[in-house]
């Protein structure tokens, strides 16, 4: 039962970045296309699963005082690894994401999950938690990326879906569009939660 709860919580209850308002920077910066959103989501999921795994394994060894420092080292190592893997196998994507790959290090979701879950739960459950939150994050980013790409460039995953007469709504792929799009999505999400009778987490 516990397993199922942990597996599903990242998909709705703690869905980042909508319900768990963390990790806004990548959610805004790399969602100008669906492909970039998905790439970022997958990279973050990889880091989340393994950072949760290692931190859970080390949770009894790491002294409380240097907890955050040790977490950061573990996360940074994984991020550097992802950076190298992406350069070796997905070079164009890694060039597009640019400095936002190294910036996964300071993504609050990862440190947040390490602190809130992995440092006090067994290894397997922590990996499931990382997987769940990571998948939630990937879905959210791909969704945002799709909306912005379809409206802003008239394409989806790089494939043109409208005819020539479509005039792209360029505002959507620029910075202001990112903020407003995320804000409205967040509002809709809140609206839906209220209809389901859930209490709002944000104030």
């Amino acid at each position: 039962m516990e397993f199922k709860k942990v597996l599903l919580h990242g998909l709705w209850k703690d869905l980042p970045p909508f319900r768990l308002v963390l990790g806004l920077c990548p959610a805004l910066a790399v969602t100008s296309s669906a492909e970039m959103g998905l790439g970022m989501g997958v990279a973050a999921t990889f880091v989340l699963i393994f950072s949760n795994m290692f931190i859970s394994m080390l949770r009894k060894v790491i002294p409380d005082k240097v907890r955050i420092g040790s977490f950061i080292v573990v996360i940074a190592t994984l991020v550097v690894l992802v950076e190298m893997l992406m350069k070796a196998y997905f070079f164009p994507l890694s060039q597009q994401l640019g400095i936002f790959i190294p910036l996964i290090v300071v993504n609050c979701i990862i440190l947040g999950r390490a602190e809130a879950f992995a440092s006090r739960n067994p290894v397997f459950l922590s990996m499931v938690d990382g997987f769940s939150v990571g998948i939630g994050f990937s879905i959210s980013l791909t969704l945002l990326g799709s909306i912005r790409e379809i409206l802003g460039a008239g394409s989806w995953f790089g494939v043109q879906i409208f005819g020539d007469s479509f005039e792209p709504f360029e505002f959507m792929v620029r910075a202001p569009g990112a903020f407003i799009c995320l804000g409205i999505m967040l509002g809709l999400m809140n609206f839906y939660s209220r209809m389901r009778g859930e209490t709002l987490i944000q104030v």
Binding site: I62, P63, V66, G69, S70, V73, V74, L81, P92
Partner: protein, 197 residues
């Protein structure tokens, strides 16, 4: 005291392990990363310079060092003879940092076959015009034995209006390559011969 010792030991161990993992990973991936960056960044430029598929050209690569810098050099072989060189250099002084360019040289006539921008971070719409063919085509046919200047300094290259810094950076890069071809020609040739055997 014992507690502090424990803190230091644990942190040092974690750092040590992570550094080891990363070093091993890098040793295994470095070659692959270089191939990928050649393929995606330099490949298209090489194709445009020599109108041959990048896969034929990318493996013809040597590296030559002059001063503090090291320059990647690609060469074109035609029936066992070296016919062309493509040299990459990084021109300093751009508005958004260095501009990396590549210049193709026909080795028999000493003429430049073209100039390509490999990487830049100039302002979009202004400095980024260095990528335009109207700017780049000025290089075509120039003889590679004297250094180049902008027309404002009595040279042969028209700067992009409003983007003097970007234009200057490209000329800087060109002059590095001109110097390299003139001063290290024999060294380049012997390295290529050693490499192509």
């Amino acid at each position: 005291m014992r507690e502090i010792a424990k803190l230091v030991v644990v942190l040092a161990l974690i750092c040590g392990i992570s550094a080891t993992i990363l070093t091993v990973a890098r040793q295994n991936l470095a070659l692959k990363i270089e191939q990928q960056s050649d393929f995606y960044v330099r490949g298209p430029a090489l194709e445009r310079l020599f109108s041959k598929p990048a896969s034929e050209l990318l493996s013809n690569k040597i590296s030559i060092s002059a001063g503090d810098n090291s320059y990647p050099v690609f060469y074109l072989m035609d029936e066992g003879k070296i016919t062309g060189l493509a040299i990459e250099a990084s021109g300093t002084g751009g508005y958004g940092g260095n501009i990396v360019i590549m210049i193709g040289v026909d080795i028999q006539t000493n003429q430049i076959v073209g100039m390509e921008i490999i990487q830049h971070s100039e302002t979009p719409g202004v400095g980024s015009k260095v990528e335009k063919s109207s700017f780049r085509k000025q290089w075509k046919g120039l003889i590679i034995n004297e250094s180049m200047k902008l027309t404002s300094q009595g040279g042969q290259i028209d700067a992009i209006s409003g983007a003097t810094y970007s234009s200057k950076a490209v000329v800087n890069g060109t002059n590095q390559i001109v110097g390299l071809v003139n001063d290290h020609r024999d060294e380049i040739m012997s390295l290529i011969k050693a490499n192509s055997k």
